[in-house]
């Protein structure tokens, strides 16, 4: 599904990712863990195509095709989704309007039929149910004045609506209490499937108790320095990043 080959990325003239290689087949959930400043957020923004994240060499192949020349909206239409660590407030635009505009923009780009307001309302209500997103929340401007938990639930709701093929969850656990974390994890788990790949980026292993990954990678200094199974996350939790980084050096 996704293949990252020897990726080098500069932000503001400074190289952050220095030869990152990673492959995520369809049906799998991979986790990337790493200390602060290791390049986790740079990786997620680069995958989504944010302006200012310059690929200097290497490639990102999605479904066998390079996406590094595509705009964020083009990647979204192809089924790439990024759930942000800090979702952005959009004042004055109701959650409902934003979601419908986004979904229809994607459908339009794919040449599919647009959804009218009534169809969309049924869909969003159905998807919102498990995430505890009600009409009242849908009528509020997106993320404006939302609590930390509400913001993350709104992110996962978008993921459920767009049904991406490849989703990146950037620090989805940050700012969540345990109940909210469970709710969000449930939403994510419901979307796991043989046709979908996910990349979960996290600082702590706690999230991985709820979203159990198939593989765990350690990112440090802009490169994957170690890969393993689920037990790698537990090992990191116990001994910290320092030992692994030293061992890899």
């Amino acid at each position: 599904m996704l293949e990252i080959r020897n990726l080098h990325v500069e932000v503001g003239g400074k190289e952050i990712l220095k030869g990152l290689t990673l492959s995520i087949p369809a049906g799998e959930v991979h986790a990337i863990m790493g200390p602060n400043g290791s390049g986790k957020s740079t990786l997620s923004y680069t995958l989504a195509g944010r302006d200012g994240y310059v690929v200097t060499s290497g490639d990102i192949l999605y479904q066998g095709e390079s996406i590094i020349g595509l705009l964020p909206e083009q990647r979204a239409a192809k089924g790439v989704f990024l759930a942000l660590q800090y979702p952005i407030e959009i004042p004055g635009v109701t959650t409902m309007t934003f979601l419908r505009t986004a979904l229809n923009a994607q459908r339009k780009a794919r040449g599919e039929q647009l959804m009218d307001a009534a169809q969309f309302l049924r869909l969003v209500r159905a998807k919102g149910k498990t995430l505890n997103v009600n009409d009242e929340m849908l009528r509020r401007p997106l993320n404006a004045g939302f609590s930390g938990g509400e913001k993350k639930r709104a992110e996962i709701l978008q993921m459920a609506l767009f049904e991406p093929k490849f989703a990146v969850l950037d620090e989805t656990d940050s700012g969540l209490d345990i109940d909210a974390l469970k709710l969000v994890a449930e939403g994510v788990n419901a979307l796991r499937g043989p046709d979908r790949a996910m990349l979960v980026i996290t600082h702590y292993q706690r999230l991985l108790d709820y979203i159990v990954p198939d593989h765990v990678h350690v990112l440090a200094g802009g490169r994957i320095i170690k890969s393993g199974g689920r037990e790698l996350a537990l090992e990191l939790e116990k001994s910290g990043y320092d030992d692994i980084i030293k061992a890899a050096a």
């Binding site: 979204a76 004042p91 004055g92 979904l103």
Partner: protein
């Protein structure tokens, strides 16, 4: 001044030589000679067959105007206007009739399509002969009949002078006096035509009155004059302008609108202004200097202005309310969008004279490109305005790093019981917001339109339904090219 020169050249290509030797009242000719003097005023009045009292009124205005100076307090920069280097009257001309939409400028059609204007209306706007499906003549006829049954008078200003001189004479200049300000006084001297509305006592006007229905009858020209009177216990909703882009060979526009609301009457006046704003480099574009004022003359009367200003190179416009009647209400809802090199200096005046008068101001200014957008407002509470209340909210939104937003609120209270609130915010569409929206599949320009529409929501909601939908699209179109 290149732009004016361009306009003059355009006009110059038409035959002008025949006026070389001056004239007195040559009604046969369709244009007054260049320049402005008493003869020009007499010419206009004679061409329209006006009564002596109206000519005298115009001449008095002209004498005043000669003593006046162009105001320079607005935050607007433009080359000095040579008022002698312009034409002040040309007879109403019919636009050339076209046979089908194929003959219409494709750019114009593309814009109509974006605005979602139905085909029939597109034809009407572009002045294409209409077929049986959408017969403009019959629409207008049905429309007139319906209004006639209700006793509503809705006609051109010139027609009103002929058919209802007593009403015109009674109310003309009573809200915006002929000597009010430089541009209004100029208008009083040389106004070309405009609309007249009278709603009799106790009548609720059965439909929204729209200038749209008159749009193709004839061009009203650059000095439009509108007078609306809502007699006691009546109601009218009036729509001015059109979301479709409008071009005009005259660069300078100075309109006057006067509204009078008697006891318990209500006037809702909505404007969508989309004059040619000039090109991306700031060349060309209309200069729009407008005086709009409503007089809540009667007790419990209400006047509400809603405006969506997206066009013109220069906008100088302050629709105001004089809250004379006790318990009267004034409202001003405004969206002003300035892109590229547009400049807008707009706002309102709420003058509280009567007891328990209330006013509400909601202004949304959006600046993009190199544009400058100023809100300028006055809330004034006079000593007798016991219990007056005002709420003002001014929000500015910036797109990009080269534009400006300015808020200049004046507040004067001479009554200790007055309650005045003022809120103001300035925000910017951030790079974060744009990335967020695009990463969800919404292209950047659509994302800006979405965010700006969200920002303007409070005002868009005030517009009549069919207008609101088009206005919403217009907001997006006006900001095209403001990213990347």
């Amino acid at each position: 001044m290149a732009a004016v020169q361009e306009t003059i050249d355009t006009v110059g290509t038409l035959q002008t030589d025949k006026y070389k030797y001056g004239f007195v009242t040559d009604i046969e000719s369709d244009r007054a000679p260049k320049g402005l003097n008493e003869d020009t005023v007499r010419y206009i009045s004679a061409a329209k067959g006006e009564p002596q009292w109206l000519l005298d009124w115009r001449l008095e205005a002209f004498r005043r105007w000669k003593e006046m100076h162009e105001p320079n307090w607005a935050k607007l920069r433009y080359p000095t206007i040579d008022f002698q280097d312009a034409y002040y009257y040309s007879a109403p001309r019919r636009k050339p009739k076209l046979n089908s939409l194929d003959e219409v400028d494709p750019d114009l059609l593309a814009t109509y399509a974006k605005l979602g204007i139905p085909l029939g209306e597109q034809k009407l706007l572009a002045n294409v002969a209409v077929d049986a499906v959408f017969d403009s003549v019959s629409v207008v006829t049905t429309f007139k009949e319906k209004l006639g049954e209700a006793g509503v008078i809705f006609c051109s200003f010139s027609e009103a002078v002929r058919e209802h001189p007593e009403l015109v004479r009674k109310y003309l200049g009573t809200v915006v006096p002929a000597s009010d300000n430089f541009y209004a006084t100029l208008n009083s001297a040389v106004f070309s035509d405009g609309s007249f509305v009278y709603i009799p006592p106790g009548v609720r006007c059965p439909m929204e009155l729209s200038t749209y229905f008159r749009i193709n009858a004839a061009e009203t020209g650059q000095f439009e004059r509108t007078l609306i009177i809502a007699d006691r216990d009546s109601y009218v909703s009036y729509l001015e302008g059109c979301t479709a882009p409008q071009r005009d060979e005259n660069q300078l526009h100075a309109a006057v609108v006067e509204l009078v609301a008697l006891d318990n009457a209500e006037i809702k006046y909505s404007t969508v202004q989309n004059w040619y704003p000039g090109d991306e480099t700031g060349k060309g574009g209309i200069y729009n200097f407008v005086t709009k004022r409503g007089d809540c003359r009667g007790a419990h009367s209400k006047i509400s202005w809603t405006q969506v200003e997206t066009g013109s190179a220069i906008t100088w416009k302050y629709p105001s309310c004089i809250l004379r009647g006790d318990n009267s209400v004034g409202e001003f809802y405004s969206i002003a969008i300035a892109n590229n090199y547009q400049q807008a200096d707009t706002g309102t005046k709420m003058i509280h004279l009567g007891r328990n008068t209330r006013s509400r101001i909601v202004s949304k200014g959006i600046s993009a490109g190199y544009a400058q957008n100023t809100y300028r407002g006055l809330v004034s509470v006079h000593p007798k305005a016991e219990g007056a209340r005002n709420f003002t909210q001014c929000d500015s939104l910036l797109i990009g790093g080269h534009c400006g937003a300015h808020t200049v609120p004046y507040i004067e209270s001479r009554n200790p019981t007055a309650k005045l609130e003022h809120e103001a915010t300035t925000s910017k569409i951030s790079e974060d917001q744009l990335f967020y929206a695009t990463s969800r599949g919404i292209p950047a320009e659509e994302a800006i339109a979405l965010i700006v529409n969200g920002f303007c929501r409070d005002v868009l909601q005030q517009l009549p339904m069919e207008f609101a939908v088009e206005a919403q699209k217009l907001v997006g179109i006006s900001l095209e090219g403001s990213v990347g």
